[in-house]
């Protein structure tokens, strides 16, 4: 039996119905089930899209904030206001759909279709047209400023 990857991969476009429901791609649901965790969404504070996370990820985030910042510090307050106040658990129905709140629909400028974009340990939800433009911009940027990146850890271990 091959070990399943716990990464969100690929780009999948699904429809948003009149009740603002959308199917989470099967491969994404498989990751959530494999990790036995909940699905979290929040409005990205950098881009017009939604950020998708696992519940585990959010717990680690919470723990990290308390370890790195003072309980009553301004930084702690700002971070928790931006992350936890904006995110929510999204339960899936029996066919694997979630319901998008109007607030998030607006933020990501969604109407009748949405794009699930795998980002490894997280994913994003985009308006397909906007994503295509953004993706193009990133490609252009790479031509002039190539990113460097080095794997620190051995791969096959």
């Amino acid at each position: 039996m091959v070990k399943k990857s716990c990464l969100f991969l690929d780009t999948i476009q699904n429809k948003i119905d009149t009740k603002l429901r959308i199917s989470v791609p099967g491969s994404f649901r498989a990751v959530l089930e494999e990790m036995n965790t909940e699905l979290i969404l929040y409005a990205s504070f950098k881009q017009p899209c939604l950020e998708g996370l696992t519940g585990d990820m959010l717990e680690v985030l919470a723990q990290g904030i308390y370890e790195q910042y003072d309980m009553f510090s301004e930084e702690e307050n700002d971070l928790t206001s931006l992350i936890f106040a904006e995110s929510r658990v999204f339960p899936l129905d029996s066919t694997g759909r979630l319901t998008l709140p109007p607030k998030l629909m607006e933020h990501a400028e969604l109407s009748d279709t949405a794009l699930f974009v795998g980002k490894g340990k997280t994913f994003q939800i985009w308006n397909p047209e906007i994503f295509a433009e953004e993706q193009q911009k990133i490609r252009e940027k790479m031509k002039t400023r190539p990113l460097t990146f080095r794997l620190k850890k051995e791969v096959n271990e």
Copy 2:
């Protein structure tokens, strides 16, 4: 069975009725029930809002204060005065509401609506208009001085 996150998430606006009652959001109540703990409120000593905690969290807070400050220090005295002397357990009625004392209503400048703001292991209760301004300030701050934050722990392990 998926593990439930024990974090206060999302921002939910509810009404305060003529008896000064307000429904605690269902998702917040779920956290309290899951942790099998009481709901504590006190007037924030930094902002015009109310701080909400679980009984468990208050215990952790107490422990932290005694570990970080000398028993008879000024800081220890100030913090305990500000937190424990002001805190109270708020019982919920059968439909999940609590009754706000006039003193807390004043402190948070509340009238007929209030916003429950998830902050992870705690939450806050705000006048919606005041919170919107505060949140905007935080967003502005992030543009000029983006907070960096690095996950130290592996997420999927």
